[in-house]
Symmetry: D2
Subunit: 341 residues, 4 copies
């Protein structure tokens, strides 16, 4: 049985485990004020070329989204999201639980555009309606797509013109930045958004997201807010150490590149076998469409997720690769197709 | 420099790291539905002799408190806590952020009593005031004290009589249950409270608290609430593995006993050196009072926390031991006293 | 200048003012426990034939919606609404501010159907998504449409089958129940929903909505919740007196019938003049479509609201009649059309 | 039976009812944008000599408190209040329901002092605790006491020095400003606080509080927040008209003076009869202490509230006078004492 269920099935990359193990008996300061967290932040600041960025390591992704959105909006303000956005669909109302409406806009490929944002702005005309104040995007998106540099610049522009904060959920940023179609680098992102995060959980860490605040106005008292939302780990160094391991050299991107390569190869195998995709494959999540008769056999050998019934006889599914995906697993799919021609 | 700053300074016990490492390449199901979490729950159920308990592994303590309290109260209901309670003082208003008042009652030694609970109930008379519905206690408390079996029974009784839920914060339950004065066992607790948790973070895990719901009425839909509060780790197995290591044998209590022994020894050394305590020492947190002149020297060799200026010349401080405290560190204090007679 | 802006432009019906005035020097008990509130509740209970209904007078409509929805949902639960629903669009996120997502479904004529509710239920499959627990409908709707008896029965049925609470916003219930197309009576409603309210503000009162709780499970502690949301008027008798005046005889429905008659007449005049409607006219809100060239003249003599640009040259507007609308105002529109043939 | 239960038992002063009646058929703009609200605001601005104040009419007091506090604090910030403060005790956790902790400080006579505020500030030292950002005071207080000019200046000063917003709850401001001991005028208040309100409900209106925002930084988007908290009356003119009647001449203060005179007279009668007070009488709420044997008889002729059992045989009660209190009611107490000597 080969699993392509998701990118958070395995533990952590060995170099992370090793650093955790080597630092195990140090007497660290709690709550993220330790030396490992400090070093990890320095590595990331250097990478994004923003010495004055504020960086915080947060245990989970939903937690990070809820923390960011609730910290920077006043009570009457809302966040604009793609209707497929994680905060709109897959966080059990975590954002609303902090008091804010998610204004969900129908989108193609899981991506907001300036036109769609404009539409949301135009709709909210007066004090009887919530006030849009933040735009939430993710890259890669829930559908595995990414924002190009031009696309991100144009979203940045409409946000600036309308006093909107721009927040990028980078739970899968590694995969987005290392995929073949990408023309953005992490410095571009740091220049174009107000807040973003670099996901660790889905790219080789046991857990943890590196939240980066670039907008000077948003930095004040943020540690109070982390604590209030239950997101300040007592052993903050457990997060710090992992990001130290990921960013002291190129490990973070190395892992993401591996996941993308495995996905690309998987994509080629699927294409060669004659199948199509639900959305074009870009990153480490791909969405092939298979006949239901084939899936009946496939599910005995592979683990993946159901996405959508596309017609009477065919179904879109999701295959995800990770830093830990082995080439044997990928090649097993080729064998499967050969067997089932 | 020897650190007695807290019990969350070091990483994890080696057997935990080992199990993490050995399980590293398994393809686990996400969100706590993995086999390790399952095993860990079975161990704990057996230990507390409650086959029908619902157990959930939560990343952090503040998160657990906020999750429990917000899940089981209706909007107009409040939780009664000792004024020194963690939820009242040290969680940056996390409980209030979910909409609920903490009714903080002045207490001795950090402990609620039936009389104090009664006082809180009597004060809240009508619909213009919040309605008490839950009692929050912790053992050990913020002051290192513990509840005796009789005390817990009497609190259980007043809760039952008044329709109050009883929630025990066991962030330091290991130390409470293994200290010399303790006459409670974990089965008693499971019989006397509606919800409690067994703290991992402060007793040898990298992070994680095992939340145990005993009251049948509170079990429904709880995973929705975990998710909503950002407390459902994608790699839930990272928590499950740790609790598996802690509870597959006696490791959890072994670690707590060690911490207590180190604290006892520390206490004896302090007492022999002629110093008194701010509150009687019971568990792994002790609160000696030292002359300020001595502390000036002590702080060059030991790390501890300031608690209270007790008079013009003397100060109460906090020394905490952990599973990782070495006897050399403890004995170093004896040497320090000898040098500074 | 004749105003058809809305149904909350004028004060109160003279019989309400008179009763307020006549009771002015009584020493009433506060917070809704007065004799007038009691009498008004008895009149309403008799009318709906539910002696055990719990009735509460609430100052405003948004307040009532937010109070009901936040009182009866657990934190992870959501309310299903038409996308045009007042709670989704025109309450500045009041529902979300209490922590709950509004799941807004695209609808025709502002009305939910069992099929649409089913779609919302089917979409929400697991604990990563909010859990539907309440259906919110209004009658008449934001588009002036009403639910027929069959429609309400079918919605009641799907709610029962799926454990959903059914809440009917009756801010304009008077108009709905007295319009020509209506086949429901208020007793039907009381039998088919869990909670509903009878709007006073938009039907002749200075302010006030009569909230009626029929579902036994929802009654407990509701006055605590009213108080907490700032909805318990110190001078609750000011609301009680008004509903006493409205329901001690047929006044409430008399006023609504008048508004509907004026709207019908207005509708006929518009139709006779050759114009069409954006949605079919049923109640006291009608939505004619006029050429922009005509509107330029019309706005100098009449007050109404802009709704939608339907094509390059024509615009839908809203005309609202009320208990206070005078026949002269209606006939003035006929004159206007005659002048502007 | 004479009622001294409270100052919100009767309807409205006849001049208010008259203006409501005279304006009844006007077609007003909704949501507080009408001409009466405008006029009332102009009268108040002139009175407080602040042309640039933002004034909003809010239906109720608890609503106003919850609206103000939740609008101006970030999530991690708290409000400091006297432990007897209305927001701490008598609002069913309305403030906490918006997410904020009320830090309740033990006080004498229901009044905060700079020393007590300082103590609250000193206690909150870091990000593990809520951050004090607002001071809430009321005048008159729950105990009928008032702040002197010097006292208010000193509180203003400590607030300025520590970046705290100062919010004065003036539900009974009329009585405070017209009582014999008062040395403050309403212009002083407008100069010394950031936000305050002038209570209508407890001084002759059917309902309504005039909220006044003086601090420029707090004005933005406030109508969104009013709407979101359910505090924007559709018929806002009903509030506007009442404040127009109260402030177009001296009516507001006239009514308050009457209430105070009745309370003073009541106080003299009680004193002459040989009884003492629980707190010194200043305003329209007085707190005499009577023997329980006397109260047994008194309760057959007078309505008042129980406050506190002061010893085995004596009880403190509360007598409240209002704009509508008749001298006969007051003199009836004298007769009662004479009969029961």
């Amino acid at each position: 049985m080969y699993s392509f269920r998701n990118d958070y099935s395995e533990g952590a990359h060995p170099r992370i485990l090793e650093l955790l193990s080597n630092s195990n008996y140090e007497a660290n300061i709690g709550y993220g004020k330790d030396i490992h967290s400090h070093k990890a932040k320095e590595y990331i600041k250097k990478l994004i070329e923003k010495e004055d960025a504020d960086i915080h390591f947060i245990p989970g992704g939903t937690q990070t989204n809820m923390l960011v959105i609730s910290s920077f909006l006043r009570p009457h303000q809302c966040v604009i999201s793609a209707d497929t956005g994680h905060i709109n669909v897959h966080e059990t109302g975590a954002i609303e639980a902090t008091g804010h409406k998610v204004v969900a806009m129908p989108c193609k490929d899981g991506k907001l555009t300036p036109d769609i944002i404009k539409k949301a702005l135009d709709y909210h005309t007066d004090e009887h309606m919530v006030q849009p104040k933040m735009v939430y995007i993710s890259s890669s998106t829930e559908l595995g797509t990414i924002y190009s540099k031009d696309e991100l610049i144009s979203i940045h522009k409409i946000c600036k013109e309308n006093g909107l904060l721009l927040f990028l959920d980078g739970a899968r940023l590694g995969s987005a930045l290392t995929c073949r179609s990408n023309d953005l680098n992490i410095k571009d992102i740091a220049n174009l958004v107000d807040i973003f995060y670099i996901g660790g959980t889905k790219n080789g860490a046991l857990l943890g997201e590196a939240l980066i605040i670039l907008n000077q106005d948003l930095k004040e008292d943020f540690r109070f807010l982390i604590k209030q939302r239950g997101a300040m780990a007592a052993k903050g160094f457990v997060l710090g150490i992992q990001f130290e391991a990921l960013f002291q050299d190129d490990l973070y991107f190395e892992l993401a590149r591996h996941a993308n390569e495995m996905a690309e190869r998987l994509g080629s195998i699927i294409q060669e076998a004659g199948y199509k995709f639900y959305t074009e494959p870009y990153t480490n999540q791909i969405f092939p469409i298979f006949p239901d008769t084939l899936l009946e056999k496939m599910e005995k050998e592979f683990v993946y997720e159901f996405i959508d019934k596309v017609d009477e006889n065919n179904t879109a599914v999701r295959f995800v690769t990770s830093w830990a995906t082995k080439i044997e697993a990928v090649e097993a799919l080729r064998d499967f197709f050969n067997k089932n021609k």
